[in-house]
Subunit: 293 residues, 2 copies
């Protein structure tokens, strides 16, 4: 599903910043830069960067630093996909309708391309056009969200370890909040900090981000059951085949839809006080929950 | 070979900071934290942190920020070893006399433990007790040194791709400077910045670090030929078996020793003007070139 048209400007700004920050394909050694670019430009919707930019826009007209942070978030998201697809992890051959990174470049380069994107993310953040005090806040926020303690890697580990086992609702919640919601929340918090938001606004957006990120992963689980591989651009039905811990598996489709709707409502409530200023983030949230791919 | 005794204080300070910064073993999910700690506490000499601390000490009595940066450098070094040892890269079973990370925890966890250490490095740097303007300088410096453009991952890629091929002296230089010298140089530069050094001092120490880091890798090549696996704590003779691009392979042992000595002399010349203040770094440099493991 395409993002609503009025996010086209954000999307274009992100594409051009990604293009600028990533080393060119012929930079030595070319194989790694080709591999990094292959996955970064494989058709991602740029959801995290756009969330970051729109959060910043609630507090400032200047969104250059948020675009910069958005690129870093996209690098981290992309590295996580490259590593998750590896044979010893999810062993996936297809991503966004294209062969996965290791299928094209081999496992060694795929591992190193992931490492390189993660490293580049932090280098880019360190050079962001934001005052240094806020810059280090953004780096700490994103670093924690991508890490092991209630962060992306921790969620990924719990996810791998839960395969084939009976999980409780609490364990499933841990996996989804860490694996997916943490980085989406960090995208929104990084945007708010980049836009110069006051602490209490940052905290409000943090709660918005947490809930919308969590809803996002519940929807992802549902799409894996309900949609075709062609629609998703990745192998559908994979969760069930791999006996993954998912919301539909634990609660059924009906109840999972209700949980996603409830999380969305909780998220949106945080934006109430911002009125018209929150309109674009509200629309983005709606899109993330209503999407079909 | 053990470091000279008078670096014991630095070593102890690094151990205790690593212990403090790394999540405890029972933090959820425990497997990843056990895997991270297993490799970080596998008996590394802490060369990069100690170089960082001693560089800082040339300019300030306060070395807390340098200890912090040193931990980040050790996390990055450790992640690179975990990933390099993986079956699809160097496929090594032994590291510092112990089974490699993936041998103990499996490939999936080893990949994620490397990712997690890299991420934690930048999170730790972002929270370092250093003024934010210098903090972002340190992050940018270390990020670039760990990356693909004349950095560690770029060198690793070139190294993997050179296996079994005839390389020129220029290609070998690129590999060694990127794969190893870059992060050692960054350790010294990060220390100087953390210690509040003026720009021209930072640049002088950068040249010191570049040359001593390069000499360090030439010595590593030599040790792989000359020493036993028992002495090294890793598989000796591996470079030749894997047809790696090395100095002894290209220039012979004699000439390689001479190159290392020349690089050491160039490095030491940069410290001349500092007199007694440079004594400890000078001794460290001597140790790095004279070591037998």
């Amino acid at each position: 599903m395409k993002l609503p048209d009025f996010f086209e400007t954000d999307h274009a700004a992100v594409e051009s910043a990604l293009e600028r920050i990533l080393p060119k394909e012929d930079t030595q050694p070319p194989s790694i830069h080709r591999a990094m670019r292959y996955s970064v430009f494989a058709g991602g919707k740029r959801i995290r960067p756009i969330l970051c930019i729109e959060s910043a826009r609630m507090f400032s007209e200047h969104v250059d630093a948020a675009i910069h942070a958005g690129c870093a978030l996209e690098f981290i998201h992309t590295y996580s996909l490259i590593h998750d697809d590896l044979p010893s992890l999810d062993n996936d051959d297809l991503r966004r309708g294209k062969p996965t990174n290791h299928k094209v470049f081999g496992e060694a380069i795929a591992i190193l391309a992931g490492d390189a994107l993660l490293t580049l993310a932090f280098e880019a953040l360190a050079k962001s056009p934001l005052d240094p005090a806020r810059r280090v806040e953004v780096i700490a926020e994103i670093g924690a969200a991508a890490g092991t303690v209630d962060g992306m890697v921790g969620g990924q580990v719990a996810d791998v370890e839960a395969e084939g086992k009976a999980v409780t609702a609490a364990q499933l919640e841990y996996i989804h909040r860490s694996k997916t919601a943490a980085l989406i929340r960090a995208s929104i918090v990084a945007g708010a900090i980049s836009g110069g938001a006051a602490n209490e606004d940052v905290e409000r957006l943090r709660r918005f981000g947490e809930n919308i990120g969590w809803a996002f992963q519940v929807i992802d689980d549902l799409l894996d059951v309900e949609e075709s591989s062609a629609a998703l651009g990745k192998t559908a039905g994979k969760d069930q085949a791999q006996k993954k811990a998912t919301y539909p598996a634990l609660f059924g489709i009906e109840k999972s839809r209700a949980i996603a709707a409830e999380l969305e409502a909780k998220a949106l409530a945080e934006l109430d006080r911002y009125g018209e200023r929150g309109a674009r983030l509200r629309q983005l949230a709606g899109f993330l929950v209503a999407r079909r791919s």
